[in-house]
Symmetry: C2
Subunit: 335 residues, 2 copies
């Protein structure tokens, strides 16, 4: 079996490691995962994050556990715990469900390992297809806003939104990327900026509240983000602040694209209002890590995601194709 590689996760036999994304961009440290519990903690602490990547990571953790001799009953219970590690991204549930079915089918550890590697390789291929499908939307000279990180650090492959951007850059198009820092956990300022440097793509880091001003000056002409869950009607959840970007795009007549693999589509969720939104700890809004700048008693609201309605989306760039509003209305996300 060919062992897939990724800049964010490594899995070969029992050796499972993730790049600790909390320490980026200043430290590139790999974290050894020994148990499913380790992986759950890493997912909750956003050491491994990004909707597609946590799906792959969860599948790998279950396969590792099987290789280590965990019983079928215990594996099923570990699958339940993994599926609940983060509530918004549906890829996690979908990948865990695939592993659960394989466990219920009494596949042996080597076969379960093979399923996880299939999921890993599939995610790499999905990213390639998304990047190719998105490339025609990017033109020479574009100034593209992105929010959070939907890159190689959010997937097992080249990325979704950043995959589209990288493919456009590889195609020789001269583009410039505006990177929202993405408070509170700064996935833009830390991770997307790091990926743009690695890919040598010209970029400018901004605070989230600067995007509107740049649009008003005509300095941004396109926006693209990833997604954590896409509902049947095209509404989607993504990192908090995505909705504001989409509203600002509408106000300035700027196209707004979402890029994601089919594993992000949830046929069980008819519309965005039904997507559960994870609430996170208040310390994330009161500061960043040890730098806590707000009054210690401050009351805080910290939703990790928001929902962007389909009406604000110009195209849904998936692995199969880039869908239009009329495709969505015809029900392409129903199954």
């Amino acid at each position: 079996m060919n062992h897939p590689t990724s800049i964010a996760i490594e899995f070969e036999n029992q050796n499972l490691q993730i790049l600790d994304q909390q320490l980026l961009p200043h430290k590139e440290t790999w974290l050894k995962i020994e148990t499913v519990k380790d992986m759950i903690l890493a997912i909750k602490a956003l050491k491994v994050r990004g909707a597609p990547l946590i799906g792959v990571a969860a599948a790998c953790a279950l396969a590792q556990s099987a290789l280590k001799g965990t019983s079928q009953t215990a594996l099923l219970s570990e699958a339940d715990e993994l599926a609940e590690a983060r509530p918004t991204a549906v890829n996690l549930m979908i990948c865990v469900e695939r592993m659960r079915k394989a466990i219920l089918d009494r596949l042996n550890p080597q076969e379960l390992y093979k399923v996880a590697i299939e999921i890993f390789i599939e995610d790499i291929n999905l990213c390639e297809k998304i990047s190719n499908n998105g490339n025609p939307f990017i033109k020479d000279g574009d100034n593209i806003l992105t929010h959070c990180n939907a890159g190689a650090l959010a997937t097992a492959g080249i990325g979704t939104a950043l995959g589209v951007i990288k493919r456009a850059h590889e195609s020789g198009k001269k583009i410039h990327v505006y990177v929202d820092e993405t408070r509170p956990l700064l996935q833009g300022g830390r991770l997307t900026a790091w990926e743009m440097e690695k890919a040598k793509i010209p970029y400018t880091l901004i605070s989230d509240n600067m995007a509107g001003h740049l649009m008003s000056l005509g300095k941004i002409n396109k926006a693209i983000t990833g997604a954590d869950r896409i509902a049947v009607n095209g509404d989607f959840a993504n990192k908090i602040g995505t909705y504001s970007v989409a509203v600002l795009c509408k106000h300035h007549n700027i196209p707004f694209y979402v890029a994601a693999p089919y594993t992000t589509v949830d046929p069980q969720t008819p519309n965005g209002k039904l997507i559960p939104i994870e609430q996170r700890h208040e310390s994330e809004v009161k500061g960043y890590g040890e730098a806590q700048w707000a009054p210690s008693k401050a009351n805080v609201y910290n939703p990790s995601f928001d929902v962007t309605p389909a009406e604000l989306v110009s195209a849904w760039i998936l692995d199969k194709k880039a869908y239009t509003k009329s495709d969505i209305e015809k029900g392409v996300f129903k199954c």
Copy 2:
């Protein structure tokens, strides 16, 4: 002469001190100002900030210098340097201009001191009037968004936008304030949160990118900010991110108010496009203080202000009265 008091600045004879706003909310430290140069450094470093307050602070610094025996020529040159300390807020230029005229009129140091104290007291009174004029716009049960800090820390008095909020609270209206943290320098998360706690007004601190989501959930029904410069046509500059708040309000049919004293109106600026926007240091966007989280070589854009066009404003709450769009069109800001 009665000596006015403020929570942000103290001036009595040669004793001039400012509350160091960079150290808030964790430390309440008063910083002694000995020279005009000290004040310029404090203004540039945002140790003293807020459009009305830096106008008052500049006037006090010039009066202190006069009391210390500085010559007329040297005072005029100090006035020039002060006026250039920050380019966007017009109150600074207007207050320095008043002092310059008094210096040119060869007023003696005690008389110059009196002019500065007049400016100080006037700002306190302007805040009272703004707060009273704004109170009718706030209703029992309102959930009000504010951005940056336009409170007692931005003026010599009760504040402008926060003055309105405090007056509504004092009037017994049950209100809740959503405080944008206001990256990159976090005047919301540090200063407005601190003021809300002092005033015992219920508030919730959020990242700037959460306001849109809250509006979509119907949890915010009003927004109010201060201003750094208001153009004749009603466009105004304020802390970066204000424009995005105004666009989000428009999208959600939420009224957006701006509150400021007449010293913020610039009859020399016909429209917002002509307001100079201060660009600040890249380190502010790459992190906060010593916590630097972005790649060290990241290219950064850091405008300190943005411009909100008049069409997005529901009312301009000034000391004289609250103006409507039709008042503005009639030319009330022309002189």
